[in-house]
Assembly symmetry: C2
Homo-oligomer: 410 residues x 2
């Protein structure tokens, strides 16, 4: 089964919007075991959309059109499909009723052209998932098929996951369920993870199911994706659980979270479990640590605040840093203890680093000092961080959080 | 002149990388007055790349291939072009020499397959801009042309701007120079800017040069792009200067910066000119204000630091906020004055807001209180901010910076 994607919208060609929708759909098709060899962007022009669909149908079994389903005169995806199918458009009364109802419930008057969205090519049907006013379409054409989904990411994702992928899998005779889970790791490069997992990966290569893949995610560390093919969802989940456990046995505390769990959410949860509150002295991290903590679930209960140090004097007068450079074990330990004292927290964090290309106090760019205090006892860890200034800041944040995570685990 | 873009790489189809290169190139083509009707993504497969190039050359006068020029066996863009041109590949000695030299200067041994990058289809020539080891190519084919540039964004951009666009413009007989400048505004919606500029836009519609366009940039405000077509660069710059002045006369202090200038950089520069230093009490902004200030040029000289308030008690004990909710004129004024006092700065900022959907102290989500202190005198501004929690934080930052900017201007 081959499926192409055509993203529709002149704004995509002009670079006003980056087409992230096709990438997301491509990822979903790959996970579902469906090949996608070409993805095309085309503007809001009937002839060119029709041409692009015809080329795609020659090369592939299915085409997903994304965008151009709205109510305005620019939205001509429906017309292009009808032209390719050689049929007319007819209003779908159920859809028209739902659109009227959406406007009624929002207490807004409905512009008449919204009913354009209820027009459906003859022989096509409407995707039941319909979070917005634009319905998605399934349009069979001989033994091939055209799908149309809106360009609004939220609506698109619901229709692709809920209707398009299942329909493609049914058409291609796939009955197995494919599910995946991501283990998030921090602290080792991909090559080291590969070495730790080498034995298990060789076993899986022979069996072919589940499969493992590494995804490098920059400041979020390296992800290990487990994908299983199973007869049903319950079995898939059980196999994912078993494989996750095997990998955790091999990777140990390198795994900090699963799927969408961030490092800051994990650390806040550990602190909550201990009943401890957190304060941060931000030097290298420049406010970024607070930004990430503030936005995480569970912050209000645990995160008491931070002092962002823009001048060494502030660290010395307020946080008890010793005179001299803040790039030292003594300074980050003093600041971690100092922030606990001034904010009245059990746990304190502090990081300093050489952010800019010029050396500081004899240290090269990327040298960082991590300090941590728990109930009056301070610890220290020096690290080397790669990248440009912005990345060094980001890496300082996650390295410092990981330092605390490991202390809270043991 | 019509030019298509083909992005090459299986990782693009699988959604592992979002194809931002095509979007950027699309934007550059549009600015240069060159039509681009289709953009395609294709994987690292010779037959399919050849097929995609042939389709593109049928529809358009030129094709830009992006990616697949590296040294590995996957990098087959050169082979695909040679196939389409019906010629062989021959080594370019000058390029081979430069690749050897790049490795020598980095003191690294050169793997032999790096010389694959010196292979050039017969009849093609090499783009002189060559920041990396992969040369870009210009490959004429009858009266049409294929360009190939690497997928590394930095290298791609240099070749597109320095060689491909000028070559396309030469081929299409364009001799005029097209240049643009962006004025960044904050404080009014697009409709209000359109009203202020209505007269000038009507004039320009008649003349046709320069042209104006609005670009909505979310948390960065609304941008007004001026594009001029001129006989040469000096004239283009002069016309841009003149038009910028006209628009500034109409928009006044709504314009905060030009091109890449951020609000935080502008505010830091104004503070530097006054010889004043800055401290921030971060409540609604949760560390984001410090993050943006720390990363801006000129921060070290002016930005003394911040207190991130994770619990009301911190604001009351440290910054002198009155007892009760921080959502009040009295609280943000007290905190703006308080942060000046504790950090010893001339200028202090503070913002509180209802970030989450539930009401607080009788105020709805998005209600924000901005406080500002200069040399001991405090001021206050209430605002309503749209969006989700993350956007409310971002809008709090830029609204507060803009509040200060306007005070520093007068």
């Amino acid at each position: 089964m081959r499926c192409e994607i055509i993203a529709i919208g002149t704004e995509l060609l002009l670079g006003q919007i980056v087409d992230a929708n096709s990438s997301w759909i491509g990822g979903q098709l790959a996970l579902a075991g469906i090949d996608s060899h070409f993805q095309t962007k085309v503007g809001d022009n009937l002839e060119r959309i029709v041409g692009a669909i015809r080329i795609a149908l020659e090369r592939s079994d299915a085409v997903i059109l994304c965008g151009g389903l709205g109510p305005t005169q620019d939205d001509i995806t429906r017309d292009a499909i009808a032209r390719v199918m050689g049929v007319g458009l007819a209003p779908d009364e159920a859809v028209a009723g739902r659109i009227r109802e959406i406007f009624r419930s929002r207490k807004r008057e409905m512009p008449a052209n919204n009913l354009r969205q209820a027009e459906v090519p003859e022989g096509a049907w409407v995707i039941p998932q319909m979070p917005g006013t634009a319905p998605g379409l399934v349009c069979p054409l001989g033994d091939k098929v055209i799908y149309a989904v809106p360009g609004v990411p939220l609506e698109m994702r619901e229709m692709i996951a809920g209707a398009v992928i299942p329909d493609l899998r049914r058409r291609s005779g796939m009955t197995a369920v494919i599910e995946s889970r991501v283990l998030r790791t921090w602290g080792q490069p991909e090559s080291a993870l590969a070495e730790l997992l080498a034995g298990r990966m060789a076993e899986l290569d022979r069996v072919g199911n589940p499969t493992l893949a590494f995804l490098a995610s920059g400041i979020e560390g390296i992800k290990v994706r487990i994908t299983v093919k199973a007869p049903d969802s319950a079995t898939a989940r059980q196999w994912l659980d078993e494989e996750e456990q095997r990998l955790r046995d091999l990777l140990g505390e390198l795994v900090f979270g699963v799927d969408e769990q961030t490092m800051e959410a994990v650390v806040l949860e550990l602190l909550r479990a201990h009943g401890w509150s957190l304060g941060v002295a931000e030097v290298a991290t420049g406010g970024l640590m607070s930004t990430r903590l503030s936005a995480a679930p569970g912050a209000a209960e645990v995160f008491r605040g931070a002092v962002v140090v823009g001048a060494d004097r502030i660290a010395q007068e307020w946080l008890g840093a010793p005179a001299g450079s803040l790039l030292s074990e003594a300074a980050v330990k003093a600041m971690a203890l100092g922030i606990c004292r001034v904010l009245g927290t059990e746990v304190g964090l502090a990081a300093t680093a050489v952010i800019d290309p010029q050396e500081q106090a004899g240290y090269r760019m990327g040298t960082a000092f991590l300090g941590l205090a728990i109930n009056g006892a301070a610890e220290f860890q020096p690290v080397r961080l790669p990248g440009r200034p912005e990345q060094i800041r980001q890496f300082s944040v996650i390295s410092l959080l990981n330092f605390l995570r490991l202390r809270l685990l043991f």
